[in-house]
């Protein structure tokens, strides 16, 4: 092969070319610590080269790409339904949100308006995804500081959300639930779904949030370790393109659900004048790790209230956009009961058929738990996307990380990393 791997590529050289790192004084106590890529405190496969002055971080150079697996190249060879399996594996902490965001972008490309029932269920599930993600992040914030209990309180309830995801999609971890124009199948039984959700909403999750808050909010060690650590000013948050809880903790009011509403966050979502769900966007102005924690806890409560507004009013009717648009997967009654259903199912599955795709480009974004998750799709009329680019919130949010840790102790590195909630699979794709 025409390339060689040189043993010492010299990260020193890399550091020198990063401008904002230049100011630091070279002291005699400098030493370099290679943090990761395999290290439990990095949560996933991240590598940081930390130049330390005693125990203080003088410079930090993040190296990413250890989990790069060419998802965007795969998108050009998988059709619009197949790619959802890959999308699920990006932000694996709340995979169902990725599914919903991807198919929302695809439906915008196709010009499909999904059914009210599907909108409600997708909103409910994406809020459950948000709860799933924040519970992990809040729990892990405690774990990073050595408090194992908080992690278990958070993780325990995630388990029951997995049960719910399994109930609707058949898979616990990576649901691959959505399809163009709807979902893979309707939920098996509305009553069971509502009962499971209500048990979560009314008993399990509030209890777990209470536990976490009692354990952490006034915990002297926790507060002291997080207050004033990793501060982002609101100007920096805007300039560096932060989104999601990280931006809102810095006082930037940016939430795609309010700015560019979609699904049930939009007025008149069912076409009959239904009001958008009511929720408030929690904002903190400190911009440090503790306010990122508080914003996430508050968002958990908002998510519960959003689901509670919808759970009793799941509309009847079809789940998928059917025969008119020729885009959605028909349900089994349609497939086994009519020739049109069979034809439509086969056309979607066969390699030389598929959708009547428009030629054009769309960018569509939705509010994932970590921030704005966007997809830029270039379509060429084929069954696969010509180019499907992802805007992963972790990737953009991680840029500021090197700036945040500089000047802090090495023990603060996992705390800041955890508060940004970087998911490496989404970062590297």
């Amino acid at each position: 092969m025409p390339y060689t791997l040189e043993p010492d590529q010299g990260f020193d050289l890399d550091i020198e070319s990063t401008e904002y790192l230049k100011d630091h004084v070279h002291g005699p106590d400098r030493w370099v610590l290679n943090f990761g890529p395999q290290h439990p405190a990095t949560h996933t496969t991240l590598r940081l080269v930390l130049e330390l002055d005693g125990e203080r971080v003088a410079r930090c150079t993040p190296h990413i790409g250890y989990l790069h697996s060419g998802f965007e190249k795969l998108a050009e060879h998988h059709d619009y339904n197949q790619y959802v399996c890959t999308i699920s594996r990006m932000d694996y902490v709340s995979p169902i949100v990725n599914d919903i965001a991807w198919h929302q972008a695809v439906e915008r490309l196709f010009g499909i308006d999904i059914t009210p029932r599907c909108k409600v269920l997708r909103t409910i599930m994406s809020e459950f995804g948000r709860i799933q993600n924040h519970l992990l992040c809040v729990g892990a914030a405690a774990l990073d500081l050595g408090a194992f209990t908080g992690f278990l309180y958070g993780f325990n309830e995630r388990e029951f959300i997995y049960d719910l995801v399994e109930y609707i999609s058949g898979q616990r971890y990576h649901p691959d639930w959505t399809r163009v124009g709807g979902t893979w199948r309707d939920i098996p039984d509305d009553e069971v779904f509502i009962r499971m959700s209500k048990k979560l909403l009314q008993e399990r999750i509030p209890r777990s949030i209470d536990d976490l808050e009692t354990l952490l909010n006034r915990n002297r060690i926790f507060v002291d370790r997080l207050k004033g650590v990793g501060e982002v000013s609101s100007e920096d948050a805007i300039a560096w393109g932060l989104s999601g809880p990280c931006a809102r903790a810095s006082g930037v009011r940016r939430d795609v659900r309010k700015d560019n509403p979609y699904l049930c966050y939009k007025d008149n979502w069912d076409g009959a004048g239904a009001e958008a769900v009511k929720f408030s966007v929690p904002i903190s102005t400190d911009g440090d790790c503790f306010s990122r924690y508080l914003v996430r806890v508050e968002e958990l409560k908002q998510s519960i209230s959003i689901i509670e507004q919808l759970i009793d009013n799941i509309p009847d009717g079809p789940m998928n956009v059917l025969s008119d648009s020729k885009a959605g997967v028909p349900d089994s009654a349609e497939v086994y009961g009519s020739i049109e259903g069979v034809i439509q199912l086969f056309e979607l599955k066969m390699h030389n058929r598929g959708w009547d795709t428009p030629i054009g480009e769309v960018y569509d974004s939705s509010e994932s738990p970590n921030g704005e998750l966007g997809y830029y799709i270039v379509a060429d009329g084929d069954r696969c996307a010509f180019r499907a680019s992802t805007r992963p919130p972790s990737f953009i949010n991680y840029q500021v990380f090197a700036k945040l840790v500089e000047g802090h102790q090495i023990a603060d590195v996992p705390a800041i990393l955890g508060s940004l909630n970087i998911i490496a699979a989404e970062l590297d794709r």
């Binding site: 040189e6 990063t18 790069h68 300039a239 830029y376 009329g381 990737f395 953009i396």
Partner: protein
């Protein structure tokens, strides 16, 4: 499915007035307005969109590279760079796009003076990593970028893999991986 684009985006009139002779072109698809800007003007227009109070695009959502080789509709150049901007104050989104054409063979990582676009990191610092990703995946370099290294792949990876002439399964990089051990140092 052809439909005439509706060019009603309020920013269009503003930039048309500010840059009368820049050769800007606008198009619209599914409520997404795209302004195609010549390569030399992209930094100037982006600066205007960021600074002017009529526009106030403070949020750069993403920088996307696209390779149009084999695209059914003829494009002004082979590669494109798209910038997705959003304005929190006006609640608007707009996409800027610029095209570049390669002058050398695109299968390797050879230096190509033509594949260069002005960096917008001085306007939105958050463009730093997205631009590095575009450079990594497409080989489009960004002039005046503070730290233009490859980001996801290693420095010597022999191709820019999201180009359309790079095969899905690679060119054997995985199979012919050179292993390093103590002796080879």
């Amino acid at each position: 499915m052809t439909r005439k684009p509706v060019l009603e985006h309020p920013t269009l009139a503003v930039i048309k007035k500010a840059f009368p002779d820049a050769g800007l072109k606008a198009t619209e698809f599914r409520e997404m307005t795209t302004v195609v800007i010549p390569r030399e003007k992209i930094h100037e227009v982006a600066r205007y969109l960021h600074d002017s109070p009529d526009c106030d695009y403070d949020f750069l959502a993403d920088v996307v590279g696209i390779d149009y080789m084999g695209y059914p509709v003829e494009q002004p150049g082979r590669f494109a760079v798209s910038y997705v901007l959003a304005s929190g104050k006006h609640g608007l989104r707009i996409t800027l796009k610029t095209y570049v054409d390669p002058s050398v063979d695109t299968s390797g990582i050879d230096f190509d003076p033509e594949l260069e676009v002005d960096s917008i990191t001085d306007i939105w610092p958050g463009a730093e990593w997205p631009e590095r990703e575009v450079y990594d995946m497409f080989g489009i370099r960004f002039k005046n970028h503070p730290d233009l290294r490859r980001i996801l792949l290693w420095r010597d990876f022999p191709a820019h893999p999201l180009r359309k002439d790079y095969p899905l399964r690679g060119r054997g990089e995985r199979e012919h991986y050179q292993t390093l051990n103590r002796e080879s140092r």
